[in-house]
């Protein structure tokens, strides 16, 4: 199938380890931050989101941390599995885009090794 993220930074982890994927966002006025997972040949898949009035949100095996002071977002994946291998994108939206336009970051490829 087609390849996503041929030239993206890669994070390599062992199966069972925890993964941390980082993202710097640009607009201090953004209100919502979202993490998407994109597997080769597929569209982005929603993982978790967080609002700007929060600094941490947990889902199933995933945690998103937001540091508004330094405009930094991170996605933590616990007990990483081979099925987690994909390209991960952070996205932001806010008043500048009418809360409709998603602005995506550059993406990070996660490679999980058995």
């Amino acid at each position: 199938g087609e390849s996503v993220g041929l030239h993206l930074p890669t994070l390599s982890v062992q199966e069972g380890d925890n993964s941390i994927i980082n993202c710097a966002y640009s607009n201090s006025a953004s209100d919502y931050f979202i993490w998407y997972k994109q597997e080769s040949g597929k569209g982005p898949q929603f993982i978790i989101d967080i609002r700007s009035n929060m600094d941490k949100r947990q889902g199933q095996r995933v945690t998103v941390l937001l540091n508004k002071t330094v405009k930094h977002l991170s996605l933590q994946i616990a007990a990483t599995q081979p099925g987690d291998s994909a390209v991960y994108f952070c996205a932001e939206k806010g008043p500048s885009g009418g809360y409709n336009k998603l602005i995506f970051g550059a993406g990070t490829r996660l490679a999980v090794h058995p």
Partner: protein, 116 residues
């Protein structure tokens, strides 16, 4: 349940040809979005519809790009006189409602366009 579907999945066009890409959003979703994703990059916003109204087309790269959603459901992205720089994956997304708030956008599989 059925997600967002797009057709065709792959399209090869000769430079100068017109192409039409179709998006079927999730049933009942009011908002529909088109994004363009170049190889190795994140998706970039093209345009947004709320029902049949095109409320934002600020991301369309040129007047060769045109999108419509005449009945507020299926949408078509048309590219006239295709150029090699139009080669990309075109993603469609839909959400239940639009406007302020944290409504999740659900993406389709995309149409991979290659212009020769």
């Amino acid at each position: 349940g059925a997600g967002v579907s797009q057709s065709p999945r792959y399209k090869v066009a000769k430079r100068g040809q017109d192409v039409a890409l179709r998006c079927d959003p999730i049933s009942g979703h009011v908002s529909l979005f088109w994004y363009q994703q170049a190889l190795g990059q994140g998706p970039e916003f093209l345009t947004y519809f709320q029902n049949e109204a095109q409320l934002d087309k600020s991301g369309l790269p040129s007047d060769r790009f045109f999108a419509e959603r005449p009945e507020g459901s299926v949408s078509t992205l048309k590219i006239q006189r295709t150029q090699q720089e139009d080669s990309a994956v075109y993603l469609c997304a839909s959400s239940l409602v639009g406007g302020a708030g944290g409504e999740t956008q659900y993406f389709g599989p995309g149409t991979r366009l290659l212009v020769l």
